[in-house]
C-alpha cells in the first residue's frame, strides 16, 4: 500500500511539475532617469513623467516578457543638477543597483556612457542634442530620441540665411551652450557673411546687456541665442529694455515655461521669439498626439506655464519632451522582448532591430547605421504671440503643421 501511495504521490508531483512548466518567472527592472530635477525641473519632470506613463501602461498590460521571465518596470529618478560629476555618479549608482537602462537628459554623457557601456546597458538621451554625444561606432550603447543640435542648427541656418539677416550667434558657457557653439559653427560656416558676431554669454553673470550691446554694434539684424532658458529670458530683457526690437531665434529652450515666467511682467517682449524644435504631430495628423496628450494630462494634469494670455486664459505646456521619454521606454520594452533577456548587452543590440509606433503615430526606432530617433528634417519653427506659440507659415514643413492647444480647456 505504501508503495502504491508513494507512486501516486510521485505521479501527482510529476503532474504538478508538468503544469508548472509554462509558468513564467516575474522580476522587476529599473529604468534610471538621470535628469536635472533640481535645476530645470520642467525638463526633468517631463522626462520622468513620460517614462512613468509608458511604464504604467506596460505594467498594466501584464509586463514585458523576455525569455522565461515577465518583467515589471519601474522608474527611478536621479537628479544630476546639471552637474557632469553628479550625472556620472548617478549612472555609476544606477549600474551598481542593476538598472536595465538609463534615460538621460544628456549632461555628463561624455563620461557616463562608458560606465553604462561596460555593463552592457543602453543609455538613451531624451533632451540634449549635442553632436558628439551619440556615435554608433565609438559609443555603441548610446542612443537618442530628441532633436539633434545638428538638425536644429542647420534648420535655423536654412531658415535665417535666405532672409538676408545678419545674425549674432550668442551661446552660453554651459555644456549645452558650448555644444550649440560647435553645431552653429558648422551650420553657418559656409555663409560667413550672414554672421555679424559670435559671442559667449556667461550663464551665471546675470545681466547679458554688454554682450547684447556688442551684437548691436556689430550690425546684427537678428540674434540666435543658444542657451539655457534663464539666459534666453535675460537676453530678451536686455534687448527689449534697450528698445531693440531685433528678431530673436532659439533652439528648443526658447519654449521652456521659464522664459515666459521670467517675462511675465513684460509679456510683449516675448512676442516674435522664434524657436526651432522637433515637430510634435505626425504627418498623418494630430489625432494620436492628442490622444497621448490626453493620457498624459489625465495622469499628471496639464503642465501649467504660470502665465495667462491677454484674454485671461491659463497657458499650458504641451508634453513635447515627455513624448520622447514615453517613446524611449516603449522602444526599450520592444528591445527587451526582442532580445529575450537582459544580460550581456542583449538589449543594446536589440535596440538596433526594433521599431515601435511612437506616441504621435510616427515610427520610432534605430538601426545599425544610426542611433538617432528624430530626423533633422522633422525640425520645425514656431513663433510666440500672446504667451503661446504657433508654427510659422513661411517654412514648408512648419506651414503644414497644426496649432497645438496651449490654453487650459482651449482649442
Amino acid at each position: 500500500v505504501r508503495r502504491i501511495a508513494a507512486m501516486v504521490v510521485a505521479i501527482a508531483a510529476l503532474g504538478l511539475a508538468g503544469c508548472g512548466g509554462d509558468e513564467q518567472q516575474r522580476a522587476t527592472l529599473t529604468i534610471a532617469v538621470n535628469a536635472p530635477f533640481s535645476r530645470t525641473s520642467y525638463v526633468g519632470d517631463a522626462i520622468a513623467r513620460g517614462a512613468s506613463l509608458a511604464v504604467q501602461e506596460l505594467n498594466a498590460g501584464g509586463g514585458v516578457p523576455a525569455g522565461s521571465t515577465v518583467y515589471t518596470l519601474k522608474v527611478r529618478r536621479m537628479d544630476n543638477a546639471l552637474s557632469p560629476h553628479q550625472a556620472v555618479e548617478n549612472v555609476r549608482r544606477a549600474v551598481e543597483d542593476g538598472a536595465v537602462a538609463i534615460l538621460d537628459e544628456g549632461t555628463g554623457v561624455d563620461a557616463s556612457w562608458r560606465i553604462a557601456g561596460a555593463a552592457g546597458i543602453p543609455l538613451v538621451i531624451t533632451y540634449q542634442g549635442g553632436t558628439g554625444l551619440v556615435d554608433v561606432a565609438e559609443r555603441p550603447n548610446v542612443f537618442r530620441i530628441a532633436p539633434t543640435d545638428r538638425g536644429i542648427s542647420f534648420r535655423l541656418a536654412e531658415y535665417v540665411i535666405p532672409r538676408g539677416l545678419k545674425v549674432a550667434l550668442l551661446v552660453d558657457d554651459t555644456d549645452y551652450g558650448q555644444q550649440g557653439r560647435v553645431a552653429l559653427a558648422k551650420a553657418f560656416g559656409r555663409n560667413p557673411a550672414s554672421v555679424a558676431a559670435r559671442i559667449t554669454l556667461p550663464s551665471r553673470a546675470g545681466d547679458p546687456a554688454p554682450q547684447v550691446l556688442r551684437a548691436r554694434k556689430a550690425g546684427a539684424t537678428a540674434l540666435l541665442v543658444w542657451a539655457q532658458a534663464p539666459t534666453i529670458a535675460q537676453v530678451l530683457v536686455a534687448a527689449r529694455s534697450a528698445g531693440w526690437q531685433v528678431p530673436v531665434f532659439t533652439p528648443p529652450p526658447g519654449s521652456d515655461p521659464l522664459v515666459r515666467q521670467q517675462l511675465a511682467a513684460h509679456r510683449r517682449w516675448i512676442d516674435g521669439l522664434t524657436f526651432a524644435s522637433g515637430r510634435m504631430t505626425a504627418e498623418l495628423g494630430p489625432a494620436q498626439w492628442e490622444a497621448f496628450r490626453a493620457k498624459y494630462e489625465r495622469a499628471y494634469d496639464a503642465d501649467k506655464v504660470g502665465v495667462q494670455t491677454s484674454g485671461g486664459q491659463e497657458v499650458v505646456q504641451p508634453p513635447e519632451y515627455a513624448m520622447y521619454a514615453y517613446d524611449t521606454v516603449n522602444v526599450l520594452a520592444a528591445a527587451i522582448r526582442h532580445a529575450g533577456g537582459i544580460r550581456d548587452g542583449k538589449v543594446v543590440k536589440a535596440l538596433e532591430q526594433v521599431t515601435v509606433e511612437g506616441a504621435n503615430g510616427d515610427e520610432r526606432g534605430f538601426n545599425e547605421a544610426s542611433h538617432e530617433g528624430v530626423v533633422d528634417d522633422d525640425v520645425y519653427f514656431a513663433r510666440f504671440r500672446d504667451m503661446t506659440f504657433r508654427p510659422v507659415k513661411d517654412d514648408p514643413l512648419s506651414s503644414t503643421l497644426p496649432i497645438i492647444r496651449q490654453t487650459e480647456g482651449g482649442r
Binding site: V160, V375, D377
Partner: protein
C-alpha cells in the same frame, strides 16, 4: 476697376481657402488617385550632388536651390511611391551610403541618408496616379 479686381481676388482666395478642407494626408491620398497633369519641365543642366550620390535614371530633376548651407533638389519620378521608395533605398545601398532612417506611409515616404560627406533626406510624395514627386535635401557634414 483695380479695387473691384482686388475685392474679386480676395473673394476667390477666400473661397479657395474654404475649399481646402481636405488638407495634409487626406488631401494627398485623394490627389494620388487622380490623373496627372502635365509634368513640370526638366531643369537645364544637372543638379550638383555629393560624390557618389545615387541618381536613378527614372528621376527627372526640375530645380535646384541653395537654402543657407543646404541644397534642395526637386524632381519627379514616373511610377508609384512604392517603386520610388524601394528604388532609392536600393540605390543608396548600392552607392555605399547609409540609410539612417526610412518611413513609408500610404502616399508619402522618406529615406534619410548619410554618405559622400553629407546627410539629408529624400522625401517622396505620390502627387497623382503614376507620378511621385522627389525632394532631396542635402546638408554638408
Amino acid at each position: 476697376m483695380i479695387r473691384h479686381a482686388l475685392i474679386l481676388g480676395i473673394l476667390v482666395a477666400a473661397f479657395t481657402a474654404g475649399c481646402g478642407g481636405k488638407e495634409g494626408e487626406e488631401g494627398e491620398r485623394e490627389a494620388a488617385t487622380k490623373a496627372c497633369g502635365a509634368a513640370p519641365a526638366a531643369m537645364s543642366g544637372e543638379p550638383t550632388f555629393p560624390d557618389g550620390f545615387p541618381t536613378p535614371s527614372e528621376v527627372t530633376y526640375t530645380a535646384q536651390k541653395e537654402s543657407g548651407p543646404s541644397t534642395i533638389v526637386e524632381g519627379y519620378r514616373d511610377g508609384d511611391i512604392d517603386d520610388a521608395f524601394d528604388g532609392y533605398k536600393t540605390a543608396f545601398d548600392d552607392a555605399g551610403y547609409d540609410v539612417t532612417k526610412d518611413e513609408h506611409e500610404e502616399v508619402d515616404a522618406e529615406v534619410n541618408f548619410a554618405g559622400g560627406g553629407s546627410d539629408g533626406q529624400v522625401k517622396l510624395v505620390q502627387e497623382c496616379e503614376g507620378r511621385t514627386s522627389v525632394s532631396i535635401t542635402i546638408r554638408p557634414e
